[in-house]
């Protein structure tokens, strides 16, 4: 374990959430919980990015009183990356939710294993 574990406590929290979200997305059977896991995973990455952009005792990157000194503001780049990432995450969640709605209307189940079984049953009959 390296030296910066306690100093990077925000990133530690982000990474724990990432692991939980990742496993939920991959291994849970319920579709809605998979989508929740996707959102947790993406939010964890945004927390990571936003935490990395912060510099101690500096202001948000909006110019105040004409001061454009480098030492007065935090790094604006990670905030821009988070903005893009949030929009991507919203789009993908909307798509997954509409897939879930269609699957539910057709097979009346939210459980992927059940849906597979019913699909195979439908093909046999």
């Amino acid at each position: 374990m390296g030296p910066n574990l306690w100093a990077n406590i925000d990133e530690v929290a982000a990474v724990i959430l990432f692991g939980i979200g990742f496993t939920t997305l991959l291994l849970h059977k319920n579709m809605i919980k998979k989508i929740i896991g996707l959102n947790i995973m993406d939010t964890a990455v945004y927390l990571f990015l936003a935490a990395m952009g912060y510099v101690d005792n500096r202001l948000a990157p909006i110019v105040e009183n004409g001061v454009t000194d480098v030492d007065a503001y935090i790094n604006p780049i990670p905030s821009g990356l988070v903005l893009t990432g949030i929009v991507v995450s919203v789009s993908v969640t909307a798509l997954m939710l509409s897939l879930t709605i269609r699957l539910y209307r057709k097979y009346h189940s939210l459980d992927l294993d059940e849906i597979l079984i019913r699909m195979q049953k439908e093909e046999l009959t």
Partner: protein
């Protein structure tokens, strides 16, 4: 620092933005007009990419195009060299022929009010493919990878039978896992180097490796980015979505997806290996060995899955799994010859796989729409063009000389001889075993479709009508296959020049 540009240098940017504008403008338009706009756009993109390719070959260097007023590292950039423009030309040609070949089925399988939405997806897929090929920036790569994923999912699920919805869901879940891993690797990479443009990140990375700082995060970053992109392209243990996704969508979707979409992630991975991390660092981190092992496993298990498949589409889809294993094996050989072989195989597979899907659909049509093998018996006599196409495609996959597949296998074997000592023997053995397995299922099917079947008298003179577009598409793909097979030496030299420019 920038000199006045030759007008041809604007073409990569124009191709990307033209496809996006065509997709946006197709929203309120009806299906037929949207089809014409899409075909026109793809033909224009092909011509522009070919022109850029000739320009770059004639000047001998790659050029950088700033997207906006500001150069790297402050603004976005795209970069075009020999390899990128060649890939862009071949990919847009394959997309054109897949669309032409599958056009009748697009109009049959999809309800009428949704046809223009299908062409919007095709346009945006082409723009994201081009952007991934040309990009010089990591975060742009991520955004366009997401566009790629969503467009591919849309193309699978546009046919709303139950099976394609489930296939699309599984595909999305696996793709999103890959994207998540890629994104956190990217975030950590930015944390260490402070740059998102590839060349600047590379300079800082070299410096860090020399000083020995941050070695543990570097290893984790490399593995996460690699595993993320490998999951998205369908490397062996993560291939379970492939057979359903390719087998149950409309035929132009299957051929575009299997030929082009998985390859774009591999190209992004190769780009990141060369331009961000540096190939020596990759070799030192042993991640290529993991890719090599899984590539070998994919080659064998994909072929075994194809032998056990019960209908022709699943067989071709499993064969895709095996071919992606070949490409990863080529990357895993760690030499430049291996990389040349892998990229040549990307080109071969793009052409041959779309040919196989189009041919299989043609055979399927004359067999009462049944997909299982016993119904396809003798179908090559009922649809001669599809039979010849399937024959050429199968022989290419097996590796008969004069066709492009033979050149790929030859390049792989030659590259294996020059690889590290432990890898030589196992590569050659697995290459031989998988060729035999390929021959088993492909030649079995070819013999089956050419076995004559007793036809009752009243059906003897029934002819099937193949539309002109589909015939043109199949014929052109067969020609491209032969060109790659017979004229392979200049193409291999160009790939080698392109890789040298890549780094």
């Amino acid at each position: 620092m920038n000199l006045a540009r030759n007008f041809v240098e604007n073409f990569p940017c124009f191709s990307i933005v033209l496809c996006m504008v065509a997709g946006i403008l197709s929203t309120p338009i009806k299906g037929n007009h949207a089809k014409r706009i899409t075909l026109l756009v793809v033909i224009l993109v092909t011509c522009m990419s070919a022109a850029t390719f000739l320009y770059v070959v004639s000047t001998g260097t790659s050029f950088v195009y700033t997207m906006g007023k500001y150069p790297a590292p402050w603004g976005n950039e795209i970069r075009a060299g020999v390899l990128e423009t060649m890939l862009a030309t071949v990919f847009s040609l394959v997309m054109l022929f897949s669309l032409l070949g599958g056009m009748d089925h697009v109009f049959k399988d999809i309800p009428e009010e949704k046809i223009n939405l299908y062409f919007i997806l095709v346009d945006l897929l082409l723009s994201s493919l081009l952007a991934i090929i040309y990009t010089n920036d990591l975060f742009t790569g991520y955004v366009f990878v997401e566009i790629n994923t969503i467009a591919a999912c849309g193309m699978i699920m546009i046919r709303k039978i139950g099976r394609s919805l489930v296939a699309a869901t599984r595909y999305m879940v696996m793709s999103l896992i890959g994207s998540g891993l890629f994104l956190i690797g990217l975030a950590m990479l930015y944390d260490i180097t402070g740059h998102l443009l590839m060349e600047n990140a590379h300079l800082v990375m070299n410096q860090l490796v020399q000083e020995g700082k941050y070695s543990v995060p570097l290893l984790v970053i490399i593995s996460f980015i690699t595993v993320g992109l490998a999951i998205k392209s369908g490397l062996y243990p993560f291939h379970s979505w492939m057979p359903d996704a390719y087998g149950y969508s409309t035929v132009s979707s299957s051929s575009i997806l299997s030929s082009l979409v998985s390859k774009s992630y591999i190209i992004l991975l190769i780009k990141i290996f060369y331009r961000v991390i540096g190939f020596d660092n990759i070799v030192n981190s042993k991640i290529v060995d993991v890719l090599f092992v899984f590539g070998l496993a994919g080659m064998v298990m994909g072929s075994v899955g194809a032998i056990m498949a019960k209908d022709i589409y699943r067989m071709i889809a499993f064969s895709s799994v095996a071919q992606i294993g070949y490409v990863y094996m080529g990357i895993g050989l760690e030499t430049e010859a291996g990389m040349v072989a892998a990229i040549f195989h990307i080109l071969t597979h793009a052409i041959t796989k779309s040919l196989l899907f189009l041919a299989a659909k043609g055979l399927n049509n004359v067999s009462g729409r049944k997909r299982v093998f016993y119904a396809l018996q003798g179908s090559a006599f009922r649809n001669p063009l599809a039979g010849v196409a399937f024959l050429v495609g199968s022989l290419s996959m097996v590796g008969i000389p004069m066709l492009s597949g033979f050149i790929s296998k030859l390049l792989f074997a030659t590259a294996a001889l020059g690889a590290a000592r432990e890898k030589v023997l196992i590569t050659l053995i697995v290459l031989a075993v998988s060729t035999i397995l390929n021959a088993i299922y492909f030649l079995h099917t070819v013999v089956r479709i050419y076995t004559p079947v007793h036809v009752p008298e009243e059906f003897k003179n029934v002819h099937v009508r193949v539309s002109k577009g589909a015939a043109l598409a199949v014929f052109s793909l067969i020609c491209m296959n032969f060109i790659l097979g017979l004229l392979s030496q200049p193409i291999t030299d160009l790939i080698q020049v392109g890789i040298a420019m890549f780094a």
